[in-house]
């Protein structure tokens, strides 16, 4: 890295050659869509695993493992709040994309930071929730339903954490160099996807008794 301080360039160009690719969708964006399609099946597999295991081990004598269920420990109001926070981060992400489309890099940075803070709050809530569960005696290996619960929500949390890192990186990057407007939009696709997946997880894991 050089220490040349650079003026951020606050201009965005919208060239005419939108159809530079065969489909008219740019390569990075199409790649992100394809990857997100792939990720759907990752979460699909994990959600199925949780649904299969959520009441196990049941009342079958002789099976090892604790009888405690994650669902008995759910704090629905608390998780609803963190879910709300995560959903609001989609709003701030939209505002960030909107700002960069309006060539307003300052606002874009503001909203990117806001999105990452909201994402971090959600993660904090998840860590708190996990810690509470462990305090109640529900560890990762307590029983198979606990393992399925932690694997599913933990992997979603990992996706959120990666998203937060990318948001912060994009913000810092935009201060040093020009940030491609579409990179922000593509990042937004990832972020919205992670939020939507959480809606599904929250509904299926937390709300369905």
């Amino acid at each position: 890295m050089t220490d040349v301080a650079l003026e951020p360039v606050d201009d965005v160009e919208f060239p005419d050659d939108v159809h530079a690719t065969s489909t008219g969708i740019s390569n990075p964006k199409l790649a992100m869509w394809t990857y997100l399609a792939s990720d759907c099946l990752l979460f699909g597999g994990l959600i199925s695993t949780y649904l299969l295991y959520r009441n196990r081990p049941g009342n079958i004598p002789g099976l090892s493992g604790s009888d405690l269920r994650a669902s008995e420990l759910f704090n629905i109001p608390f998780t609803s709040m963190t879910s709300f926070i995560l959903l609001m981060s989609s709003l701030t992400m939209v505002l960030a994309v909107n700002a960069v489309m309006r060539r307003d890099v300052e606002r874009m940075r503001l909203w990117l930071v806001a999105t990452s803070v909201l994402g971090a709050m959600f993660l904090g809530g998840q860590i708190y929730e996990f810690a509470e569960f462990v305090n109640y005696g529900l560890g990762y290996t307590s029983n198979v339903s606990a393992s399925a619960f932690y694997t599913l929500t933990g992997l979603h949390g990992a996706h959120v954490a990666v998203g937060v890192l990318m948001l912060i990186s994009a913000t810092v990057y935009s201060m040093r160099r020009q940030l491609n407007a579409e990179a922000v939009e593509t990042l937004g696709l990832y972020w919205h996807f992670v939020d939507i997946v959480w809606v599904v997880i929250f509904a299926i894991v937390y709300l369905i008794p």
């Binding site: 890295m1 990752l42 090892s64």
Partner: protein, 705 residues
Amino acid sequence: MAITEERPPLELTSGDLPPLEVETLGVFHRPRATHGWASWFTTVDHKKIGIMYGFASFFFLLVGGFEAILIRTQLAVPGNKLLSADLYNQVFTMHGVTMVFLVVMPLAAAFANYLLPLQIGARDVAFPRMNALSLWVWLLGAIFFNTSWFLGGGADGGWFNYAPNSGVVFSPSHGIDFYAVGLLIMGIGSTVSAVNLTVTVLNMRAPGMTLMRMPVFTWMTFIVQVLLVFALPVITVALILLTADRMFGATFFDASAGGDPFLWEHLFWIFGHPEVYIMILPSFGIASEVIPTFSRKPIFGYPFMVGSGIAIGFMGWGVWAHHMFASGMGPISVLAFSLATMFIAVPTGVKILNWMATMYGGRIRFTTAMLFSVGLVAMFTIGGLSGVTHAFAPMDTQQTDTYYIVAHFHYVLFGGALFGLFSGMYFWWPKIFGYFLNEKLGKWHFWLMILGFNLTFGPMHILGLQGMMRRTYTYTEGQGFNGWNLVATIGAYLIAVSILVFMWNVIRSYRQHRANPVNPGPDPWDARSLEWMVPSPTPEHNFDEVPVVEDFDEFWHRKYGHDEQGRPVRIAATEDVVQKGDATDVHLPSPSYWPLVLAAGLPLIGYGLIFNLWWALPGAILLIAGIYGWVLEPSTDPSAGHGHDDDHHHDGDDGDAAALEEPSGDEADTASGDEAGEGAGVASADEPEPAMASASADAEDGGSK
């Protein structure tokens, strides 16, 4: 090349960035070598990457072949003591995993990488650095997986690794840990590659190259990439759960703690059945290129060839449980999957008939490539027919876990997939390396191989029906298996000889070429698709001018019209329609260290997970350094590759994917162009980043990408 395509519609104006900001990054200078051994480690050229895929997977073919020879030698006579039961378990497991994930898939990826851009008229894939990343991730993952031999023994649960045998109780060595983590790592590589090639086919086609003008090989490879995109996350889930069971004490597959071994079977085969089409469809594509060329006829029923490929791709998702007929899953499931399995034979049969109709009435030249393709059609038909017998559940119950199954899947995967890949090697070898493989040795190779193959796997049908169980390390004198087993072993050695003939062919042809170089010319076979329009070996920039496509079999139609009877009539000399390969001002993506750096982190994390988490630390550092180095590096080095002034004119306003970037004398202007490319680099790097960064957090997640 990909610079202009990578440039997204929205980009910042620029011009005020000092080049030095763009140029240096940390300790590395941008690699410059484009020739010599060092260039291979940093290349982002799809052709070099394809060649490396090819050589590496051929090496693993030798490894897996050696394991096969061990198996057959052990089974040659009853009560043999060459391998212990434990070692035998490891050898057949490693043989299976090696042949599937380290040979057939990457060998198909070699052809896909090399040919896909050429066949659609592009200068490279959509993301050249991601392409290099998938190669290195796969190769290092493959090496990682094989180091298990030296670190406590290989995996020993069969390639499908059913629970509870995959648990720590029944497999206490680290073999299955290497299986789980190794496949997760290779899954990252395959996913990156699948996303990349999917986008390439959708987005990078030359002007006029509509989907229904694409060569059948491109179509089949495209279907394979889509299958990979959706199948890999499923095996990733299964492997994450297995890793959690083995390393972190979870009980997902432990029935004594409420876990369900069935879950593994379902997840594995939901991946595993599309996987068999992932392995066979590229070879179908190769045969669909070879057979029309050597029959001098267009492929019969092109839309049906494409349509049946798509149908196989879709229906391949609905038949997975036919691998589990003997598991007791209930009559309704068995019936449904039995029916679906019978139906999926239909599109495959369409393909077989279309190949035969292509040959019918054609002027056939039986070159080695053609022989292998015809061999594929014949051998795959045998394998397909025994496959239909498995669709009948009562019959399948008899055949499950016998050598009949082994015979079936070797007929489709060896007689089908591998024969097709060898056909492709003989067909495209002059295009790739600029010299022919010797036809006489090639025919020896073919006839020895098909003879050895049938001697090895033909008798297994009988052995299986007589009740010889697979995965059993020996048999006794009185079981009546002696004769056919000896025949099968002799056949296996014949296959080994045929492989030696092939290697001797490569060496001898290369030596003759060095002593007396004769260029085969752009179009040695009088072929049909765009890759034959460029010189052999393919120039680094692929096309001087991106061709404008007007028809299916574009190159053929530039050479031949037809008379009233529909017979081909030459309308242009080949020399007049091929390209010269002399363009010098084509702007190509610059080589990069970062894909290799990033990939090198993953096996270290793997060792860390298995042995000691501290070892994962350097891996994670490499990974993160790789990601950020990658993002901060422009996809094209602004200070490289300029200033060749050549008058060769380019059709600059192709207006499509592979438009050229004209050389620019203005350095600032150049920097801005590259910066725009860099912006795309950010976005594209966003794509692998979730995979990589989360893999550093916990390698399980990474496998999903």
